[in-house]
Amino acid sequence: MTETTIKIISNVAYLIASIFFIIGLKGLAHPRTAVRGNLLGAIGMLIAIITVLWANDVLSWYWIIAGIVVGSGIGAVLSYKIEMTAMPQLVALFNGFGGLASVLIGGAALLEVAGPVKLTGVNQSVNIQLIIATIASGLIGAVTFWGSFIAFGKLQGLKFIPDAAVRYPGEQIVKLILILSSIVLGVFIVMDPVKYEYFYWIIVVLSSVLGVLLVIAIGGADMPVVIALLNSYSGIAGAATGFIDNNYVLIIAGSLVGASGIILTQLMCKAMNRSLANVLFGGFGAVAQTSSADEVYGNKIKAVTADDIAIFLDTAQKVVIIPGYGMAVGQAQHAVKDLTVLLESKGIDVEFAIHPVAGRMPGHMNVLLAEVDIPYDKLKEMDEINQTLSQVDVAIVLGANDVVNTDARDKADSPIAGMPIIDADKAKTVIIIKRSLSPGFAGIPNPLFALDNSYMFFSDGKKAVMDIVTAVKNL
């Protein structure tokens, strides 16, 4: 077969793989077709891999097979051993690996350009597109890898990576300098790739620092936005890698992922009524005069015990549970399942109200509740549940805070004003399970806690729910 024929056949195969990716992603966006969508994506990937191995003169089969076997083994073990609760970390980690691959491929591509020239001493003209694509690949790849690694660390609770936002004076300037100096170094490489080849690795180091700084400046509760954004970056890094040797399937698959990541990022930002720039660079500053905790809470806080809650529940017909990150941290989902089964056995209707940014990644609460086999038709989206909350007898807020803060709805000068919330206060009785009155991520007191129909149960999430289960049984 001539080289042209091989090129045509492989490009057709890449087109087929791309179609699989598109149909697969479409499937992943709908509950009924999601499993099939994922499968189609995997088939597309298999087609692409077989094609690239067939179309290229592979010199070192031995190493390639070793690499694939090792990678598959690690990937399979990780995906089967992981607890559902650790899903955010795992997604972050996998994401980073894709970025790292882009960095390494860029490095190899540059060696390929510089290598022959060094051997022969002949400086042939170099393809500028290749060089620029290589630099973009290394830059975005390194930001993705290190950003994901920091996100992983925050989610995993690694001690040396703080959960809170790390902020310092002049941080934006530091980041700007990192980006600009990377670009300047990149220009040098474009001008003389042979002489300045090693600048590539300096760019990688600079963008690694940038990746760390970008994510370390973001607090835990903003993680859903960051994870979605890094997801998008990993796609864009892949697309950049595709520009290195005009590989259609890399460009198409990479941009599809880039787009889907951006959509998720927008959804998350909308759910917090904040712009992406505000999440990345602003954070909650001293936007407005916030009322002090004493003013809001005064002596209006009513603490109750599990037995009191059992009595509320006993007379209830409709109960809504509003979970937040506290449920994930306390691993309370199994206890929640027990409580749900118990209440349902008493003829009480139990539903769950899911805020889009509850937890640390998009869809976090859904994954946790699915793990304990709570049917997904019981999980209600914010807009849907808000229409029925006034008919709810007991709303149980479990480890959530800012997403039920009535200030967001009622107080125009609040730092979180305009963020859509779950109207827990509309329920006849509100039970808030929380360790203490400490503020949520936004750092402001929550007037919900001081309402006449609100009762606080100060306890660890899991223990609290287990105590309520026991108390209901003992009634």
Binding site: A42, V70, G71, N231, A259
Partner: protein, 92 residues
């Protein structure tokens, strides 16, 4: 000309991505993320090319390491998405 052609593909693919995933229910946010993440492991194609063709030791090593990480991304990503989606299936 060639550059314009592939840039066209790039831009159009982004639009296709936006159209295809425009409305995704919150239930599927995590699986969509991990599934699309697995697709971004397409960099494995680039890794295979650079590990296979270059007769230089350093770039083969870079390529092979890239293959390992990209494969973890691909295999782990698709498997974990599948596992998660199985949990979402309605229990009868």
């Amino acid at each position: 000309m060639d550059l314009v052609a592939i840039f066209t593909i790039f831009v159009l693919a982004i639009f296709v991505g936006f159209e295809v995933i425009a409305k995704v229910p919150p239930l599927l946010h995590t699986p969509l993320m991990s599934g699309s993440n697995a697709i971004s492991g397409i960099t494995i194609v680039g890794a295979l090319i650079s590990a296979g063709k270059v007769p230089s030791e350093v770039s083969t090593i870079l390529g092979v390491i890239a293959i390992v990480f990209a494969t973890i991304n691909v295999v782990g990503g698709f498997l974990v998405t599948h596992r998660m989606l199985e949990k979402f299936k309605r229990k009868e």
